[in-house]
Symmetry: C2
Subunit: 201 residues, 2 copies
């Protein structure tokens, strides 16, 4: 059985739960409290030296980290990842975009505003994320303006990776009102058979 170390509110962990749900794979879930140092214990660091969730432990004890690498592993040879080399690289392109240009702005704003007490430094941090966060959403909006999904005209792990924090962007005070293609895509992803919510655990 797969074992998933995750945390209740992490969008990165939700990506993996969502992929596992679509693939119908059973797993044991171990929830860690990231705000209280549970990913920094020596026991957890022995499993993932980078001290982050999600971390997946396979049947044979092998460990895999980084949400989007886990998605790629789980989705290989399934309908969630195209076989074509260029389309597969395109899925990865959007997943690297997610981790570099999207998550550090939108997920970090959400985390601060939802879980931490605001002080001057944190207000400045959130403020600094607005322009690059909206820029990332603008890139997504342009791409989705004439497409149903990000890659290969089918629902893939690129959609799962980008959905995780986009559908809760309002919790980081990012307004999707003027981004209709993103809103339609969110509804399309949420309407997939087998969909689970970020709060389902």
């Amino acid at each position: 059985m797969l074992t998933l170390y995750d945390s209740a509110d992490s969008g990165n962990a939700y990506k993996v739960r969502l992929a596992l749900a679509h693939l119908g794979l059973p797993y044991e879930r171990i929830a860690l409290d990231t705000d209280n140092g549970e990913t920094r214990t020596s026991r957890f660091l022995a499993t993932n030296p980078n001290g982050k969730v999600p971390t997946l432990v396979l049947d044979d004890g092998e460990v895999l980290c980084e949400s989007n690498a886990i998605l790629f592993y789980l989705a290989t040879a399934t309908p969630l990842l195209p076989d074509d080399a260029l389309e597969r690289a395109r899925a990865l392109q959007w997943m690297f975009f997610e981790q570099y240009s999207h998550e550090p702005n939108i997920a970090v704003s959400r985390h601060v505003l939802k879980h931490l007490e605001l002080n001057r430094e944190r207000r400045a941090l959130v403020e600094s994320k607005r322009e690059p966060g909206y820029r990332a959403l603008g890139v997504m909006e342009g791409h989705l303006s004439d497409r149903a999904y990000f890659v290969a005209e089918q629902f893939t792990i690129a959609d799962i990776a980008l959905y995780a924090y986009t559908h809760v962007a309002d919790e980081g005070k990012f307004d999707l009102e003027d981004l209709p293609a993103i809103r339609r895509w969110i509804a399309r992803v949420a309407g997939q058979p087998g969909h689970v919510l970020i709060t389902d655990h």
Copy 2:
């Protein structure tokens, strides 16, 4: 012929040049000056709406972005990427680590210290990158303490991705003196047949 949009000093662009050199693939190089807005022109944004180098244009005009997605595409079915699904996911794990935990600290420090005039805000930015940057280097040091390469006991695109900014970490004032496994690995990567320097272009 492949066309690579890059910039002279970008480690992300260097990753692609290094992989192309190892694979013996010819390409045309178009250097853009990122500090002078050449990745933000409407012409370039029509090629890559995210306005970043490297951007690769394939023979048939198809465009691929994000350095590590480009590496994955170029390395598929070559000795630079293992065939095994788990090892391939592990290579991706280290490449996502590079883009999330390493590059934003080490490359950004290097860029500010090497190319921009220091003011109070930029000094604070560089200062904020020191602890997470050394933490990322510590994760690498631990992993390399009993391994020659990051994945599958062979030289792969995970090494290329992490080498790009690690071997010039001193330009971001990260000292590798106390990280002997990283220093040995740097020498090992630089000693690969077909290696090119970040300044070779």
